[in-house]
Symmetry: C2
Subunit: 234 residues, 2 copies
DNA sequence: AGTAGTGTACTTGTATACTAGAATATCTTT
DNA sequence: AAAGATATTCTAGTATACAAGTACACTACT
């Protein structure tokens, strides 16, 4: 588990939450592994209370499973959860990009331009680390343009189910067609072409679905059994 | 504030969370009013810790606003929040009812039938208290049929922004056309008629938008200033 | 050797103590 | 009387103590 330092005005709870999210996303916290409130508190140099509060929040998003008096565990990648997250992302992204086509002003488009330019720059240089963050920022910018920033934030934790798979996708597939997708989306928004924009979003999200099958065969131990007895253990 | 008794195997945290949600929904906790962790803990007969954990969860959903060392307050009804919640509900409900048209089996339809029959029964008897719960159960049943139960649960707390307005709607408008909407939705699902189903959902949700303006004029003190300086206070 | 039983070392859930800061009332000073 | 300083009393944030239950290893007995 990788532990970054605590920011200046960051509360202990936000610190614990940030570290946990980062490590779940990067899979440094391996799906299925146990996490101890006491141990994590010691590692972060804070007390159990804020650590516990962070764990509770992630439990609400099904990223951690807590069993009273037994322990807390990083959730396995659950195809049903990933599927629901993708479903939700698909319908929300498409509706939001339609709104963005209507609402986009010069400033919004400039921000998207800057972002995509950077993605293309880093891709050409082979610095792929940055693209993941830029990808998220690109989508957040579209939500901001559409005036749906709360929805983005509410969904962001849930989308970690999805983003975790993307992390593996980047590791294994090394496919950056997504940057081209973003360029095309931007052009569609500039042209206020809703039909094309929605098509692009759907195509964009289909990429990850294809990846998932490949990843699953490579790392079966990270995944929950498909269609198996959900939540039950012997 | 109305305080129901604690259930048998319910944790202190879940108890606090349930009581808070019930009172926010019913507006017995008035928008803008202060809530004290200590006071609430005393009223519920539990300690501050689980109360605090419940408050944190509701803060994450913007139903409570917490200012460190100053206090926590029930959020005013924020037109932007309600708007985003309605937007999210509209796109999610429409996508889910389409899926439900495809996936509905006999058992699912039977459950919807039972629910709508009860709604019609209570409406004819004038027992309108029950209809609110049945309404929610009806929509949850559609999500279950579509295999999107996690999405329903994730959104349920956020939808309190919306449901709060519905509470006022029931109080002031006394309009139960919604029961007829539900009957028609059920028939559309039985006929697997996606186009009609989606139309009905949109029409259904439009009702609340109309109500909101009327309510706002009656209870302006519950609402945040529209388009005003968001989040700022003098 | 095998098995029942017990103790120990964990876990999370809850309660309480302490810290730091904000708001307000009161007292002092001008 | 008015204004400024100060003490008190709130608040939430964090740390720690205690309670209850699980899992497992070890012991003792058959």
């Amino acid at each position: 588990m990788k532990i970054n330092t605590k920011h200046a005005r960051e509360s202990a709870r936000d610190y614990a939450l940030r570290v946990l999210k980062e490590n779940i996303l990067s899979l440094d916290l391996v799906p299925g592994s146990a996490i101890s409130e006491n141990e994590l508190a010691a590692q972060l140099g804070i007390s159990r209370t804020p650590v516990r509060e962070a764990i509770i929040e992630l439990s609400k998003a099904y990223l951690i499973e807590t069993y009273p008096q037994r322990g807390s565990f990083i959730s396995l990648i659950d195809p049903k959860m990933v599927g629901e997250a993708r479903f939700l992302r698909r319908i929300t992204d498409t509706a939001v990009i339609e709104t963005a086509c209507d609402e986009a002003d010069e400033e919004g488009i400039r921000q998207l331009e800057e972002n995509v330019t950077l993605q293309e720059f880093y891709l050409s240089k082979g610095i792929t680390d940055k693209i993941f963050d830029l990808d998220n920022q690109f989508h957040k910018a579209i939500y901001d343009i559409a005036g749906k920033d709360i929805i983005y934030e509410i969904h962001s934790t849930l989308m970690l189910h999805f983003d975790r798979v993307r992390t593996l996708s980047v590791e294994t597939v090394k496919d950056f067609k997504v940057v081209g997708d973003h360029r095309k989306m931007l052009e569609a928004i500039k042209a206020r072409d809703k039909v094309t924009a929605v098509e692009l979003v759907n195509k964009h999200l289909n990429r990850y679905q294809i990846d998932e099958k490949e990843i699953r065969s490579q790392r079966p131990e990270y995944f929950k059994a498909e269609g198996g007895n959900r939540g039950e253990e012997s």
